[in-house]
Symmetry: C2
Subunit: 103 residues, 2 copies
Amino acid sequence: MPLLTNGRIRHSVVFALAHPDGSDAEAAFLDAVARLEAIPGVEAFELMREVSPKNDYRFGLTMEFADPATYSAYNEHPDHVAFVAERWDAEVSDFLEVDTTAL
Amino acid sequence: MPLLTNGRIRHSVVFALAHPDGSDAEAAFLDAVARLEAIPGVEAFELMREVSPKNDYRFGLTMEFADPATYSAYNEHPDHVAFVAERWDAEVSDFLEVDTTAL
């Protein structure tokens, strides 16, 4: 992973879904998440399974942006706005966002 | 960041400290966290600042292990056990652990 220097920011989200584990609805949602990688400015994108017994999340997502302006552009991109409004809010039962930069 | 294939696991922690922001005690704790990187099996270690307004954590830590057995060895290593017992429990006010693997 590139080090978080010069304003670089890592945006991570852990989440659980309203859909049953292994369901087609879960798979369809994860496919939709994976498509976020195509939004301009997204780097180092990974969609992962969350396995710690110390929390109730099921999936993790991480991506990086060169700087806060690129991150803002991602947040405001029509594809991201639509995804959040049309899918995230309805299909995610719990989540946490974490943004990290160089110490 | 290496992809999480073949049993590889990423261990991440977000946390806040009982110490005031920018204090010497905070700096000393972060130095102690940084020394965990020397424990055998730790890869891709990063200690970061957490900046999202959507949570109250202040710092983030991430590391990777080649497989669950290496992660267990880290957890059981005397330096890690001592760090948790002697420092983490006393100086961390809130934290969340997240472990991720390939989807």
